[in-house]
Symmetry: C3
């Protein structure tokens, strides 16, 4: 087997950092697409090459990069999370309602932070990748996401 070789893409200096904040009003369990908002903000900073980090300030909502084409994929992912973290197994922590502890487990299995390289002013997402906030609670919540970009 021939060795795997990483092909150099870009190199340069590092001069700049920026941060931003997004409040998302969710409408209960489900996905909110943050891709366009992130893309516009990256462009607005003037940073062409660097690293974008997205951070979710909650423990019952989380982040995912997943398929942006067929919405059935997102529906199936929610069903899978329901199956992996069911309501009816009996939890110690019940004071915030029957959907709260499953929401923490679903957040544990997904991402609180994600980092995406930025090349030529654009996030290096694949063609089928979207950036999503995932609400795991039943009821609508205001969720805060912090964006951090470093580069030049």
């Amino acid at each position: 087997m021939k060795p795997l070789d990483i092909e150099p893409l870009t190199e340069g200096s590092v001069t700049q950092q920026a941060s931003g904040r997004l409040v998302v009003e969710t409408s209960g369990q489900g996905f909110t697409d943050l891709t366009e908002a992130a893309s516009r903000w990256v462009f607005s900073t003037g940073i062409l090459h660097g690293l974008l980090t997205v951070f979710c300030r909650h423990t019952s909502a989380s982040l995912l990069i997943q398929e942006n084409a067929d919405p059935d994929v997102r529906a199936d992912l929610l069903t899978a999370l329901d199956r992996l973290a069911p309501r009816e197994v009996g939890y110690l922590h019940t004071t915030e309602g029957p959907d709260d502890m499953p929401a923490h487990i679903r957040a544990m299995m997904t991402a609180t932070s994600l980092s995406i390289p930025v090349l030529e002013g654009q996030m290096a997402l694949g063609s089928w990748q979207g950036l999503y906030l995932v609400e795991h609670r039943d009821r609508p919540h205001n969720r805060e996401v912090v964006f951090y970009l470093i580069g030049a």
Copy 2:
């Protein structure tokens, strides 16, 4: 629907990086709170704005950002990990004991690295978020965590 707009928070130059190392003596399966240690170290570097990355150098222990209020949440998370990666299903890898392979699976489902923006000298954690090392093995272990901060 109105478009989601990221509100600019900070911007500035990038001048500095720092790294540190923490050895945690765990006492078997469970959570160790690293929030305060991380917070003190971030302060000690003098970096006010930037990005903190936390990295766990093990494959049977891992990292999580989870609720810091009700300890029952952490207990329920451990029970959920037990259920998701049970001992009694039969594994090929058994030489290191019956708790080792479930520990690798639990590490796989949680985080080996986490990145947290730092704003005004503080990690941008939400009010209910704590940073934890999670030991997945039964017996006490010494676990090494690397901290890396970049910014200005």
Copy 3:
């Protein structure tokens, strides 16, 4: 209990960033070891201290840092992923074949991005840690991974 204290390792300026791209030809469900390729590329950039971020541009393949010693661990991890995201539960999204939706779920439970501190020119991986691309589809695919390094 004595407080946890992070021991300072390195500090310095930040001057440089670099990115690279790797195409991995997978041969169906399984692990491809990227550790050596990443290590050689980090060395080639001349950056001695910094942060490496690895990003997978797909939603049915993903990244993991896992045990590099006993190959049975990786076999057991694949079995665990099969059990956690089974084929036969009935999905809405079936147009790309019966292995596609389970592959998205397995990618959701693992990592799309990973960040590893670099110290003295080397990734700060633990002795038993390897960096892997995990193919979740049955058939061979070309998978693209982006590497990003920042530091000095």
